[in-house]
Amino acid sequence: MTETFERPPFLLAKADAFITWAQKNSLWPFGSGLACCAIEMIATAAARYDIARFGMELFRASPRQADLFIVAGTVTNKMAPVLRRLWDQMPDPKWCLAMGNCAVCGGPFPSYSVLQGVDKIIPVDVYVAGCPPTPQGLIHGLMVLQEKIARSHPTKEILDPDARDRR
């Protein structure tokens, strides 16, 4: 199966659908918050907005067990290498959601110590704007991420290893 295929054959498509259904519905976020957006992230996980309904309840404290890295808050130059190492420690099918203007593009802080956007150090899948984004905004971002996962083809990467680098 070395030749790459555009539309996966039937069997693999079904396998893709099943795997992505599982990955989509049990996204465990990584419990790391930086600034104000972290409080809105916790409010989203709290009683009223409750992302546990989508299976994202377990805020794993260790990067090894998390698969969604929500960068919630301002990324400073001093914190950037730490974030990069946390991203590398996460096992592979991982996604990153940049929450809030600070993570998306530096936000209201054009200053000497702020990294203007987390996508300079981490490949971001979904950008959620807002300062801080309301819980509804964050849940919308998470749903967009779930659709993106549903469209991905994990089996393609298993059979064609260098496909992953072209992800």
Binding site: A35, C36, E40, R48, A61
Partner: protein
């Protein structure tokens, strides 16, 4: 480093450091020998940024300092600018400011109760605290559209007037908080495990607390009766009567009790402020381009975390020459070392929770 000591790093990403604080701990089989907080992981260069913004543009940035109590930051900065420029705020605006600041104190203390309990293991209290806080955030959203970084207090007054519907809605929300507070207290107050984790942990005497610059509920837990709202009244707090709850031996349990008592006091204050709401407009006449002749002013208020003060020096233009902020969490964190040395490793988490620090305010 003695032979049997481990150098442990708590942070900068750690579930219970309330953000990006890094604690370098030297631990001799679970007994803490040295604590060295490392800061700067959230330093956004606020004070440099403020020097290139006009007085009015700085106000939304003060929301992002102590993001659990954004209205208190607004109030502190705005009062300093009004003192500098000699702006007289109408009495109705001062009363609305009291209502907003005390609602913000409620939200901040409820969030703190959740975080501290979660650090010591009682997960449900985090959810109860946040549920109560959501209702207050709904009030802010009804008042001016924002939940967390509210930006509701401006130079010269407040952004909106309190209409009757909002006043009655505030009263209904306030009437529900005592019941939620009773739930939290029922879960924790007389709980043997909770008391074992907090009574006698991280004590600090009144003298040490003053010498180390501790302020706010943490200081009052050591029995020091200092509340900026009483000692140096601002924004017509002197027309409202309320008590200042005090602790006795300044340990985690007293800090916990003092803050819960303050929640009850804040409910009383908002009630009185709503009853005595005077007539008048909610905003003073402030020139669009506010230019302030060269001068320097310092003003401090009682924020939920402690004494929050702003020093502003003006140079005649519409941009401040220098804005220096005295952040309570920054100074309170200095006494962490004093409280933690000699205690056990899990207690560092409890003490940090009882100090109620916010990293946005520490790193500026």
């Amino acid at each position: 480093m003695a032979f049997n000591e481990i150098e442990l790093n708590m942070g900068p990403q750690h579930p219970s450091t309330h953000g990006v604080l890094r604690l370098k701990l030297a631990v001799d089989n679970e007994v803490v020998v040295r604590v060295e907080p490392v800061l700067g992981y959230l330093h956004r260069g606020m004070e440099k940024l403020w020097e290139s913004l006009t007085y009015v543009q700085v106000v939304p940035l003060t929301d992002r300092l102590d993001y659990l109590a954004s209205l208190s930051n607004n109030l502190a900065y705005v009062l300093t600018v009004e003192k500098l420029a000699g702006i007289e705020v109408p009495r109705r605006a001062r009363y609305i400011r009291i209502v907003l600041a005390e609602l913000q104190r409620l939200a901040s203390h409820l969030a703190w109760a959740g975080f501290m309990a979660n650090d010591i293991g009682a997960m449900s209290v985090l959810l109860y605290g946040f549920e109560a806080r959501e209702e207050i955030l709904d009030l802010f959203e009804a008042y001016c559209g924002a939940r967390l970084t509210v930006h509701g207090i401006r130079i010269g007054g407040v952004v909106q007037d309190l209409d009757a519907a909002l006043v009655s809605r505030i009263r209904t929300v306030l009437s529900r908080i005592p019941k939620r507070l009773a739930d939290i207290r029922a879960l924790l107050d007389e709980n043997r495990i909770w008391k074992e984790r907090t009574v006698g942990i991280g004590p600090i005497t009144a003298a040490d607390a003053i010498d180390l610059g501790l302020t706010g509920p943490a200081l009052r837990a050591s029995g020091v009766a200092w509340d900026m709202r009483k000692d140096v009244p601002y924004s017509s707090y002197d027309e409202i009567d309320f008590e200042v709850p005090l602790g006795r031996n300044g340990d985690c349990y007293d800090r916990y009790l003092v803050r819960l008592e303050e929640i009850c006091q804040s409910i009383r204050i908002v009630g009185q402020a709503l009853d005595g709401l005077p007539e008048g407009e909610h905003m003073a006449k402030v020139p669009r381009a506010l230019r302030i002749p060269p001068a320097e002013a310092y003003h401090a208020i009682e924020a939920p975390k402690g004494v929050l003060g702003f020093t502003i020096r003006s140079n005649g233009t519409d941009k401040p020459e220098r804005v220096k902020m005295r952040s309570p969490s920054f100074v309170n964190l200095q006494s962490l070392e004093h409280m933690c040395v000699g205690c056990l490793f899990p207690d560092v988490v409890g003490i940090l929770g009882s100090l109620d620090i916010v990293l946005g305010e520490i790193d500026k």
